[in-house]
Symmetry: C2
Subunit: 111 residues, 2 copies
């Protein structure tokens, strides 16, 4: 992932998937990542989901305004609606300002 | 997880585990979670690791001072040293201020 000047912003999306995920979840999840990457102010994204269905996705942005615009993107709004109605038992979104950071090892391997 | 007044702080720990994790990793990882919970200013923790070894752990704290003290806790320092020498190919730590958040569904199930 590219480094970025401070401050920049992180959106922490913690979620629990419904036990039976159907109806286009995976295709939509991939599409949202691809679409996010095209948005102005996007810096990078990291994601992990454990076998119990709990997942954390963190996306990084240059400004709160960029985050707001992505939240209101029409295809993203459709996905959010589907997320509420079908895909997630719960989710929690936190918008954060990254104050400082440090790295060990070859994290530049990541996107 | 308990809610907390804003602002509060998140530490995003993104890591890639070494392919062969031995030498007490799991016991230490569990112990660090238990120890963190006992620290002043601790609010909560969320964690997910995918099959490819990439994991994200986010811990939440009432102040930057609480984060600093936990970073310097002697048993935590030992674990950090072991993490660098043995357990992780890379990791990235970001200290963030949580600005705002919203929730869908029964996220209070979580610790």
């Amino acid at each position: 992932m590219m480094q970025s000047d401070h401050p920049y912003y992180a959106v922490i999306f913690t979620s629990k998937r419904s036990p039976e995920v159907t109806d286009g979840y995976h295709a939509t999840a991939e599409l949202m990542i691809e679409l996010a990457k095209e948005q102005p102010g996007f810096i990078g994204v990291e994601s992990a989901r454990a076998a119990d269905g709990v997942g954390i996705t963190v996306s990084y942005w240059q400004s709160e305004d960029a985050i707001r615009k992505w939240k209101e993107h029409s295809e993203h709004l459709d996905a959010q609606s589907k997320g509420r109605s079908s895909w997630y038992e719960w989710f929690h979104v936190r918008v954060c300002r990254v104050e400082r950071e440090y790295t060990f090892g070859a994290s530049d391997e990541r996107e």
